[in-house]
């Protein structure tokens, strides 16, 4: 099952490689991993999307907690949460496609953020599956380039991950 794990870690050189190294050394899946500093400059927040049986996820959480640089770990799937990912897609926009692309973009509540003679660049935010759905809607030959950030996650309501 897919899990989204959030963690706070010391914002130090090498901290990211400790987490990435742990996943490769113990053969855990890693679908995406995002990291950036928080409002407290000494802390980084990481969101890891992984998958595995309950036993494996339990081990992943324990092993992450064991890393000396990791301050806190939260499995967002243990409660209600919000997941968002940003995607930029460059699509062909010539002839009839120009209107078609604009329409599809509106349906998915994306925004066209760059317009060229023969292409649009569309910005789209949502859950991973929404972004997947958008790409599936597009004619494959119309996709020139995609870039995705990987998911960020946050607990709903009072669920707060903070030191």
């Amino acid at each position: 099952m897919k899990h989204i794990i959030s963690l706070l870690m010391e914002n130090e050189a090498g901290a990211l490689s400790r987490v990435a190294g742990l996943f490769s050394a113990r053969a855990y899946n890693i679908e995406s991993l995002t990291v950036a500093p928080t409002e407290d400059a000494t802390l980084s927040r990481m969101t890891i999307v992984t998958s595995g049986s309950d036993d494996v996820i339990e081990q992943i959480i324990k092993q992450l907690n064991k890393l000396v640089d990791v301050v806190k770990v939260l499995d967002l799937n243990d409660g209600r949460y919000i997941e968002r990912e940003l995607m930029l897609v460059k699509v062909k926009a010539t002839g009839a496609l120009r209107d078609e692309m604009k329409r599809l973009c509106d349906i998915f509540r994306g925004r066209i953020i760059d317009v060229a003679d023969s292409s649009y660049t569309i910005e789209l935010t949502g859950t991973g599956s929404k972004l997947d759905a958008f790409l599936e809607t597009l004619d494959k030959t119309a996709i020139l380039e995609t870039v995705r950030t990987g998911a960020s996650g946050i607990g709903r309501g009072d669920r707060i991950l903070k030191v």
Partner: protein, 579 residues
Amino acid sequence: MEDRTPPITGAEILIRCLHEENVKFVFGYPGGAVLNIYDEIFKQDKFKHVLVRHEQAAVHAADAFSRATGTVGVALVTSGPGATNAVTGIATAYMDSIPMVIISGQVPSPVIGMDAFQEVDMVGITRPCVKHNFLVKDIKELAATMKKAFYIAATGRPGPVVVDVPKDITAQLAHFDYPKSVELRSYSPVVKGHSGQIKKALKLMLEAKRPMMYTGGGIVLGDAAEALTKLSRTLGFPVTNTLMGLGGYPATDKQFVGMLGMHGTYEANMSMQDCDVLVAVGARFDDRVIGNPGHFFSKDRTIIHIDVDPSSISKRVKVDVPIVGHVQSVLTEMIELLDGEFKSTLQARQDAPLQAWWKQIDEWRGRKCLNYAKSDLVIKPQSVVEKLWEVTKGDAFITSDVGQHQMWAAQYYKFDKPRRWINSGGLGTMGVGLPYAMGAQLAHPDAQVACITGEASIQMCIQELSTCKQFHLPVKVVNLNNRYMGMVRQWQEFFYGNRYSESYMDALPDFVKLAEAYGHVGFKIEKPSDVEAVLKEAFSPALKERMVFMDFLTDQSENVFPMVPNGKGLSEMILAEDL
């Protein structure tokens, strides 16, 4: 800021940190990047520097010093090849959770990443085999980093910590201010176990019909041997130790059923498989211990697991009652409860003791699985270990290398005390035996220290005979020389149709001459009738100050039994009598 002492160099700060940590021995080897540090070592006499002949041995010796004393072992190596040579030692210590601080030199900060002479990314290379590591980037951080390194190494589940120090940092100046304590928001190991869980466990233990204590290296590392012995005796439970846990419970005690696992005793493995309540303490159910996990689970039992490391619990085996805590603290709490809240339950149970279970265990013991064919013609390796036990009165520090001799040492030397058995259990590093003996001998200068080894393993760190000479280390080497990489040969015999691919040791040195060349005493023993006399001579007052290398030519075809073949279940052992 108040007045402070004048600033000192990074190298001096480093030395002062080691003084503050009360370090008595530093095992190391100098080189370009650590010359400033070595210059400061020259000027001090609070700790002794032990010059090894290869950096791997420095780390092994420091590791053994830690195992033999319970303190943090310290090694010092230079950058590049010095650092990479240390890696095997670090990985060895990591697998067995040994508290160590390894200081490695690094090229000067401005040239890091420039492929400088003798540069490697030590922090990157060691990341998967350390508890934690640091690259010191600022002289002002040096003292605090050292404090953190010692703290992290020794607390929680212990482990090696690397501190990589660029050469320019060792030359810069700063005020020395050693922190009194450390607080890390990201690291706070649990000590006390959850009381509710402890009571739940005790209740199950007191209701058990076929209980079993299965204890590992955590008992030794956590200084919990006394508590374990008291608790087990109070409860009357059978006890088995893992390879790493030997000495955690007295081997000559009637409740001890021997080591378990791939080469464990018949009675230990059968009890493990057949028990109804299993109490695992400071052990991790590894593949060499429980054999095939599927087979292990074919029997229903309740598992209680006490460990300081939460990630050890339910890693390979699903546990019913997990207790995260320092094993000594948890076991002591159990003892107290048995004398308090649970006293009446315990007494009530005394009326119906575990007679049927012990009867079964004694039946298994009756198989005498460690019996072996005696011989007047050829030296049986097992008999050498038995004689060594007799001659040293079971009170020596025994180190071993890796292979058949290691298993025979574990099976036939009955360890009654913790920290007496020093071997590479997790990583299985050939070559540790001699440097381990050096570390143990320095830790206990007046103790008998013997290294049980084989002609293959000993050659992996044979250069350390020179270190033994320089530091007058009267280690006794017991070389069980069967002219084969014995364990490799055994597997090839059983599982590869007797095709002894590359496992024969041809062109062996004359170990007697070799020992003599290094300035030691050497004996070659070819007859079973000479075994005892030579061992007695080696441990006699006349040779007390000398290192003695005993080269025993042993039975080439001897195998280690019992054996749980790879992938088989614990109760599917091959016994010597089966063949």
